[in-house]
Symmetry: C2
Subunit: 364 residues, 2 copies
Amino acid sequence: MDKNAPPNSASTVADVAREAGVSKATAARVLGGYGTVSEKVRVAVMAAAEALDYRPNELARSMTTGRSGTIGVIVGDIENPFFSLAVRGITDVARQAGFTVVLVNSSEDARNEEAALRTLLAKRVDGLIVSPAKESETDHLRDAARSGRPLVLLDRGSETLGVDTVVANDRHAAESITRKLIARGHRHIAYLTACDTPDHHFRTPADIHTGSVRRRIEGFFSTCQEAGMTDVEHNIHVGAVTPERTRAIIMAMIEAPLRPTAIIASDSVIALEVFKLCREFAIRIPDDLSLVSFHDADWTSVTTPPVTVIRQPVYQLGETAARLLVRRMKGDVGPPTRTVLETELVERASVSMPDQSSEPPHRG
Amino acid sequence: MDKNAPPNSASTVADVAREAGVSKATAARVLGGYGTVSEKVRVAVMAAAEALDYRPNELARSMTTGRSGTIGVIVGDIENPFFSLAVRGITDVARQAGFTVVLVNSSEDARNEEAALRTLLAKRVDGLIVSPAKESETDHLRDAARSGRPLVLLDRGSETLGVDTVVANDRHAAESITRKLIARGHRHIAYLTACDTPDHHFRTPADIHTGSVRRRIEGFFSTCQEAGMTDVEHNIHVGAVTPERTRAIIMAMIEAPLRPTAIIASDSVIALEVFKLCREFAIRIPDDLSLVSFHDADWTSVTTPPVTVIRQPVYQLGETAARLLVRRMKGDVGPPTRTVLETELVERASVSMPDQSSEPPHRG
DNA sequence: AACGCTATTGAGACCGGTCTCTTTCTAAAT
DNA sequence: ATTTAGAAAGAGACCGGTCTCAATAGCGTT
């Protein structure tokens, strides 16, 4: 009679059990796919479930099992191609392992990150992948780790926090590109990042709380110094958080008495802004200004000239982090690991050749 | 004694109640922020919670309240800038309204989408935003709607399914760009999309199951026909799903006896591939070939020449869908709405000017 | 002093699953 | 035929919250 009409409210194991004429426990065994049941009963229960349009309540299941089948992911900004690609890597692995992803943008704000973490922990995610906004503020991460749920840090590590980390070899990448620029005669190289300091000025690498960027700046800084360059800290520009601020910084840089001959952009979004501005002001790349960018964004190969970039294995970064997390969630309790993925310098045409360099080597 | 040492397993309201010397119900009232409690008891309970490092279990809360505080989002591919921007719009609104987002990639596959939907429904998301891979296969969406949880369709609508939809005015956009190309003397215009048909050939718009693309093709098709063009269906190319396939299609197109003088790319990923190939084969844009793309991706303004695009309000698409969903989740039960957001033709320099056109008007 | 009203608290059912413990039943082993 | 292992099914506790309902307490009123 009521077999064809699904009830108003979702039906439960108890409903199915009643319909099939068995106990709740037995119905649960069939529906949950555990324990042992006779074939006859199995068929009856399945038929009842079908008739009642039964849909399991994953929430209730999670509460008893203690596992929710979800992993929480906190990134700075999903709109940034770097993160969207990394998240793709994460979701692919997660899906394959039977997990779904809960995504939160921190907008690179430590407070947002902390709130997000609390929410995700409250929702009982089985594991977490976080790209921490600030390495200096990691109390909330420590809490997460302490909660017993595995945590993997993505792109930005914290050496002090004993937790799994997957990063690129940022420092080495920065060193090699800086060396390359120096070899081509550049003596005034600017480094431009979205990371900010309280007074928007750079003094020492310790001011930079975003791990990946700090390591790059350390590499840049020391390579410059080894080459005998002075006042390197004045060539490191922070706070390129919006297109407007980025433009203002670049403008000031260009109009300064000692105008840089090369710019290293810390991400593709900034590089794009530099490129736009150069075009707008008819600054020729690489003749007037050389440009190098971190992250091999799709468009960098298609501009005139194509942009020399440091290719990071972004998808693999996400993939590796997720794989590591899955292993931890399965019970691997080894000591925390730090995975460093290699980068690759892709030389295109946005860096001036040695003979084109307007400055002779060793001038200043 | 055990006040400073948090217990091994997470503490619960019952633990806090015991610690504070009150009943479970009272502790729950304080912790859950409902009902009425005396100030004295409130303080005592909070102190106990603090001491025990109490963290609410959102899962348990969800089970009784029936609401999980999450919204499920299914998109084709988060890596595609279109979707990552739309998702950013969704997450921003969701966060503001107190919801977190569970994200799933369907890889534009209806079966994946169905599985994802089942999972999300089982996890008891409070609402859903889906960008359906196929408008023809919507049984699973109907199920979702029937489950009582609000559903909003993003970018791709289904007229038959009575459900809220947020789309761009794709048809009108396609018409206007096609008209513009025709006005500039183009008589052989190719349309290139990632959507595919079983035999990889296009016959009628009804073959295309992705709503937004079908509407664009309808606009393109009818505008071409109105201009007296024949065999328009042969100029619509489907199945540009990977860079390799895209290249093969473009190559065939270029080598055909009647080579198109203009290409409309259905998304920025395809446009980028066209651009790359043109550069590789020294095909000049716009002199040899005009290019127009849907979606104003960041890089399109920075190429040489910059690409003429149809700017879609992508962030707003996500934002609007999320706002609508939030309203529904709050109990709005009006009839299903269909929101159409306007697009804008951004003319840059990838379309040949009339006087540069190699073909005189009305030739064929 | 008796009464009524409200603020505060406690007891316990409930959400929808899982899972342990028992009991019953079947069939192989001695 | 009797013993016994193991399969199959049921009863009911439990997860960690919410929420209803009843009991108690405190206060103003007449």
